[in-house]
Symmetry: C2
Subunit: 617 residues, 2 copies
Amino acid sequence: MQRFIGEISHETGMRLNQTTAEKDGAILLVRADHGSESVGKVGEDESYELTVGTSNARLTAPNPLGILHGLQTFLQLIETGTDGFSAPVMTIKDKPRFAWRGLLVDPGRHFIPLDILERNIDGMAAVKMNVLHLHLSDNEGFRVESKRFPRLHEMGSDGLYYTQAEMRELVVYARDRGIRIMPEFDIPAHSRSWFVGYPELASTPGTYRIEPGGVDTVMDPTEERTYKFLDKFIAEMAKLFPDAYFHIGGDEVNGKSWDENAKIQAFMHSREIKNNQDLQAYFNQHLEKILSKHHKIMVGWDEVLRPDLPKNIVVQSWRGQQSLATAAQQGYTGILSFGYYLDLMWPAARHYAVDPMSGAASTLSPEEKNRILGGEACMWGEWISPENLDSRVWPRTAAIAERLWSPQETEDANSMYTRLDGLSWRLEWLGLTHRSHEISMLHRMAGEDDVTALHTLADVVEPVKDYTRIEGVKGDWDFRAPMNRLVDAANPESTTARHFQQLVDQYIQSKFQDRGAEAQIRTFLASWRGNDAKLRPILERSFLLREVTPLSEELSGLGASGLTALDYLEKSEAAPQQWRTQQLAQLDLANAPKADLLLTVVAPVRRLVEATATSTQ
Amino acid sequence: MQRFIGEISHETGMRLNQTTAEKDGAILLVRADHGSESVGKVGEDESYELTVGTSNARLTAPNPLGILHGLQTFLQLIETGTDGFSAPVMTIKDKPRFAWRGLLVDPGRHFIPLDILERNIDGMAAVKMNVLHLHLSDNEGFRVESKRFPRLHEMGSDGLYYTQAEMRELVVYARDRGIRIMPEFDIPAHSRSWFVGYPELASTPGTYRIEPGGVDTVMDPTEERTYKFLDKFIAEMAKLFPDAYFHIGGDEVNGKSWDENAKIQAFMHSREIKNNQDLQAYFNQHLEKILSKHHKIMVGWDEVLRPDLPKNIVVQSWRGQQSLATAAQQGYTGILSFGYYLDLMWPAARHYAVDPMSGAASTLSPEEKNRILGGEACMWGEWISPENLDSRVWPRTAAIAERLWSPQETEDANSMYTRLDGLSWRLEWLGLTHRSHEISMLHRMAGEDDVTALHTLADVVEPVKDYTRIEGVKGDWDFRAPMNRLVDAANPESTTARHFQQLVDQYIQSKFQDRGAEAQIRTFLASWRGNDAKLRPILERSFLLREVTPLSEELSGLGASGLTALDYLEKSEAAPQQWRTQQLAQLDLANAPKADLLLTVVAPVRRLVEATATSTQ
């Protein structure tokens, strides 16, 4: 209640009082039937009912989780108007469609300070998510203090890790906001950071360092000492993280180090273990027993799914919707992450179109469907820094959160974007920096005060999609690479490009008669046409920005092409074929990625140029 | 070192390694002769020597305080260039002029969350300040948990206070950055929040609530129970705050409640205490003994300065430089805050011009001058919220920090502003929000996405100066008043106005021949002239913004006047007397404050209009 009052005061400037007695005047009555569980459980009743009347409002829920959600809804209802702030009269009965609505953050690859995790938890609470999945170890770093095995964090990181006190603080912080924290320690692959301090765990003898490359190193599943170590380690972490679920990773096991180790090969032969998949299943069976002993339910990525594992494990599907459906058919519960990978830099609408119940899942029986618990947005950390994390997570995660909360039939992307645009500012008021981070990064790159022209360019570029950036790295991907280029500052989805695209659509649909849309298109195009001349001196002075020079030139070219096209369209004249051919050739060049960035307004300008093919007179 | 490496990576994107051995390649060697004191002391050696050579750099200091300062200097030296980042070759021997370089923050009136205090400590460290003075209680709130007297924070606040664990965390956080924390509990006046839970401490019997108004309530200095209470309370707080200094306030004692209390009058009569000043001195003598017993040195505002107090107390001067000089003459040490009140919304240059050794202090003997320990910027909290605190403190505090560190002779304001403009962005990178807060506040007021026009207006207004805003409040000042108006978002000092003023100066000095300056002036004026038409629909839709409508009209009027004046000046023609008279009358109207805001570009536009009086042909 105190946080809610704080937020509403923050938004409106009004000071509200909390009282336990009914009073005169406009009140919001809040009542929960029961208290909270001390540790959040999957499937708790999160429903609430909110009634806003003309003189007061009422929020009721079976337990405090519903109250938290209802208060967030109330905050979203507040509108600024001519007479002050108001909430519309209405009654909402609301509950989530899925019990598991998560966000994965990956401090393993790049450490994220605690306060940044906390503000992201605030963002999750605002969009009613309920699981923060922390990918706490990977090849590049081990990020939690282990008192039992201190060389894990001491040697397996660059000194950046969470203390146990900090993790306990975070668990409480999240719990206060209705959010569970599920830890992940990814084994047997993705585990080089373990081997720096404890090389005896590795399948390949040697000494290890935290360094780029080297994804071949995998734990040795044939040694009893591996399981003794994991038993003690999990005993410690099981106490630190009170949640019932414990994620062991299990993805992308590269069998190379098993193939090359004669002792491991002999072990497999003697036990009649046929292949590396079966060896990993052997590992997972041991692991599951250890987790059970410490009262934890095992969660793993797709690859853990093999016969003979107990049915109470949870499969997190990253490779496709089919594997989630298969798991459900075999009796396993599962959560969907395929389609929700934020690091692929997709637009919100593309994530929004993926539903855990669509695709392969749509033909499941009701009982099988019940095994699909929900989904998780995944913010993998290859290109993340504390400075740009928020901008990669938000606001796109809100679209996934809505997908997991609202009915499957709610699927109109335009309507989703309307809500997203409004929500994006509220998230910034909560302390997230997904909008404000860009300006200070641009200033740093430019090394000077006026970044208007650079901002104009940054506004219409997006990082390349899917795995293009990492595939473009020469040699091993270096997790120590600087994250101070324009690609690191640019938002994954350009709002300006979306608006420009809409204007062009509207203009073309009006058969080039909508003068309002035309004027706005002209304003955009003119600002782009003149931008390169303004930006060039800055680009020439900064080695960080020099790589974006071709993009700046091309944006100005796009502006010029578009304006000429508009002139033809306004006069209802066809443009000469030669001019058009030339423009389209330039647009093709502009369409290719440069400096790991894409110009996002090529397609709508192309539509304008193509429209000049026929006279409409 | 880890923080330094983090910051330098943040700025440059380079990953640096810390090592204890000498290595090949470019290195920064850091060496301190001694370790740190466990608790910071006034007058520790803060000097350092930094040498940047062509292939490596070296930082040495007697102790870690100097190292901290030297690392900050190194960070400031880094420049973005065409070939990467560099630091210029140079040798710096540096030390502060004053031992006490402080910032007062006032969570008493409006609570400031811990993380915001912490980021302000980061800012202080960046500008080499070394004292955070926390004004922890006032009429409006008691902000620290007291285990001995829990009704202090429980009933004396709205639930917003620092726990003892949080205060301990803050003390460590500050100490790690070379900053002492001095607590202030303001008594016997400014203490109504104490009386809510402990009314027996008040001079006027009754029940008390945290409510606006009512500055008359003062502690009862005639009762033994008052001192017993203070003894136990100070015993508790002396442990919580390890610093040797303890501030007891002592300012603005309104004697009304003493005058009206017959028992107090009888007490004064029986002890031959002649007036209220002497009664406060009696109180302070008792207080000083209690502080001494708990090994603390008493600090108080001007008003505590009375004969008979021991010479080891420190006087913080807010009423003028004379009282600081008087204290020094009488043998007391002192710190200057007069001239450094950030809440008066002065420009940085005005604070910068005030030196602790100038004015009355300039005639002191060397021995007396030695008693002036330094100064403190004071951020009183009447109009502060967590959202706008940073923007009131920064970057102006950096000018005061420089005043207290650098030689008295360093006093060129233009040169200071050049450094300030660069530093301002670095402070934002540290997590301060003095630049970024404005945009999200404007969005909230506007209730829509495009705030360009509102931003144009916000850029050229400043909050009214001195105590004008609080004097304009009808009735009692209500500390619960919303802080969501344009005056709460607008920066205390408009950078745009300063630049515009410089351009006009330059243009006039060139006898209207500088075409570059003229073009820039025209761009500003044209954007203002057209702004009201763009902004008006937003102002009409938002009740929060309606009050700024006259300012928006006037800004457009200024744009139009200025452009016409420029046309005359360009043609070297005198403008008609009647036109000029009309414009000057309008400028007078535009000069008056509205909505607690001032239009800052009236004066330069007036200069342009006045310049049209004579033909230069």
